[in-house]
Symmetry: C2
Subunit: 389 residues, 2 copies
């Protein structure tokens, strides 16, 4: 374990912890390659109790990172689940020990395509090995091992984070007491893959992508990555939310009959695109969207999702949102049906919300009440006192 500081692609110093897996302990990947060294950047909140039974692993989404409840070192904004984390909050730091690591392939401290390939002394770029959700989880397992934790009290995450939760529950069921996949799915749908491909092609079409070697040429495919982000961002919101926030409101007083951002929704999307490129690496975007496309839990179990969960003792809480059209409720329901088919312990709540996929990041009282209730019950069952140590 190293305590040296790491830096983001944009040069910002990245606070937090690091675990380095050396050449003697490489990470074996689904593609067949062994990767080493691997740095895993992570944050923790709260304290691990004496019997190490109060740890919750938080899994972040595609463009998230491990700054769950800190000021983000690049954007200066609050952590993405800041509201949930703290003393007396739902993810109660007086009771639980929270862990979140930047995913493998990411660009916020954990090894990814923007890092130097020690074999060549140059950035990996697209010579970085292809990664999967299972690979991301393998890295997390190594971190949990390093922290000396046999069983996580909970693994929780939304969207791609939920895929990691499901992967944990299926591959390492004895190491997970409860699993909380939110706004997620057991596989990427054809439409999900299609949107992923649009984003990748937007990046690849940018000449500044330089066949993936932009860092070597001192460039960055900012325009392409911004377009990718704009397209993706639409899928994170519901039509109702866009209508409520922006409708057809104009930026100025009247139409310009040109291609400036006449409508507020255009200006908003452009801002989403341009601010994203300051904090995210384009090749990381390619690799991580690809990992999501490849995710298909049933495929690894003879095409029958229920087989993935057979005999599980994990307690599941599956949560979806009514207006989420990227990971619609039917995908969560497919997971619940599979769990029911093997008589697993599962709660399922479809939260009424018009905020779309991003609802899991927003202040949604019914969602928060569901999380709180499930965690309270599980903590009691697990014998976790209100103060966890």
């Amino acid at each position: 374990m190293s305590t040296s500081q790491s830096h983001s692609v944009s040069g910002a110093v990245l606070p937090g912890h690091q675990l380095v897996l050396g050449p003697d302990a490489p990470l074996h990947l689904d593609c067949g390659e062994d990767l080493a060294p691997v740095t895993i950047a992570y944050q923790t909140y709260g304290r691990l109790n004496a019997d190490k039974s109060n740890a919750i692993l938080i899994c972040h989404a595609l463009t998230g990172d491990h700054y769950v409840a800190d000021i983000h070192p690049i954007t200066g904004k609050p952590g993405w689940w800041q509201e949930l984390v703290g003393p007396g909050r739902i993810l109660d730091t007086d009771r639980y020990f929270l862990i979140c690591s930047n995913v493998l392939g990411g660009c916020m401290g954990t090894t990814g395509p923007a890092d130097i390939n020690p074999a060549t002394g140059k950035p990996w770029g697209v010579t970085f090995p292809g990664i999967t959700i299972a690979d991301m989880v393998r890295a997390q397992v190594r971190l949990v091992d390093h922290l000396g934790i046999d069983q996580l009290f909970s693994v929780i995450g939304g969207s791609m984070g939920g895929m990691q939760v499901l992967e944990w529950a299926v591959r390492y069921p004895h190491r997970v007491f409860t699993a909380i996949p939110i706004a997620s799915a057991a596989r990427h749908s054809a439409q999900n893959i299609a949107f992923g491909e649009v984003g990748r092609q937007a990046v690849i079409a940018d000449p500044d992508w330089c066949q993936g070697d932009y860092l070597l040429h001192g460039k960055r495919p900012q325009n392409g990555l911004a377009v990718a982000r704009m397209a993706a961002h639409i899928t994170y919101l519901s039509e109702a939310a866009l209508h409520r926030k922006f409708g057809r409101n104009l930026q100025g007083r009247k139409l310009t009959y040109g291609f400036n951002a006449d409508f507020q929704v255009e200006s908003y999307l452009r801002h989403q695109g341009s601010s994203f490129v300051d904090r995210f690496d384009a090749n990381s975007y390619l690799y991580i969207t690809r990992a999501m496309d490849y995710f298909d839990l049933a495929a690894d179990h003879g095409g029958v999702l229920a087989n993935a969960f057979r005999g599980t003792k994990v307690r599941f809480c599956v949560i979806s949102f009514t207006s989420d059209w990227l990971f619609p409720t039917r995908e969560s329901r497919a997971v619940v049906h599979a769990l029911n088919a093997v008589a697993a312990n599962v709660s399922f709540v479809e939260v009424e919300s018009d905020k779309g996929h991003d609802a899991f990041l927003l202040d949604e009282p019914e969602f928060h009440a569901t999380l709180y209730g499930f965690l309270e019950g599980a903590a009691e069952h697990r014998g976790l006192p209100r103060a966890g140590w």
Copy 2:
């Protein structure tokens, strides 16, 4: 009226008719400018009857054109409504005289940004005036005048074509006997505008766009336009249709852990993108999507859609498709509610289909039966014999 041949951006000879509006009869546009000369490229099918009462104007969608029922001069594919047009078919050429013109701003013969600005001798590019759906309809009115038709038996179209239908019915109600807007809306929603903006930014981000002057530099922003088309194409299909057609099927035997098109849906989308750029002009794409964004019938009538239709004698048939999420049924229903509020004559059918927005271009028996029934009834009411002349 000229009979000279015109050419597409790609150099193909374009068959069909042309009407040229000379400098003595410019087209007055919503933006305040007068445009001349204006060429209107159009096709007709069937014969106009003696009292000129059997004409149907077909309005095409964003990337459509006037080759409704001919082999397309660039792609070599059948016309986009080929199945509906012909003797004894729903748009019966023994009974009706069908007209379809390429929209103003288009790239298949009607004046658009790829044409030469006579004042400079150079392609218009982004100096072409901003256009609206109302401007497109103004050009169509001139064509209908030229053909000596006082009242169209019907104006029909899907998607952006449906916007033109509504515009006709509102601005020229005495010149329209029936109006059939399909899979359309009385305004572009915030989500529609957002998707439009992603497409435009994809084009504009391509360095080969050259600030709009690509033709002057012998270039074309093919990568950007392909990405725009890919993103748009996803919105034309339902999730169910993508799942049925492609699911998670692979192109090859196994995953490559790279960025090739591993999945069939990726390969399909890439093909949609790359084939589109052969037949469409990038600046036309910018101008026409912008025209759709600007469309808002209610805004021109004090924000109350019903006011747009007050006193109308037009008979409406409004059609939507259950799985169309780009122009969902609620948008059609808003039109129907407005028509009902002014006691207009309106039929409304929501066709059960899992094919998404593109259902209006596909073989959908219930849709076709609806069209047939409505046209039969209206033709009888109008006193059109089965053979129209």
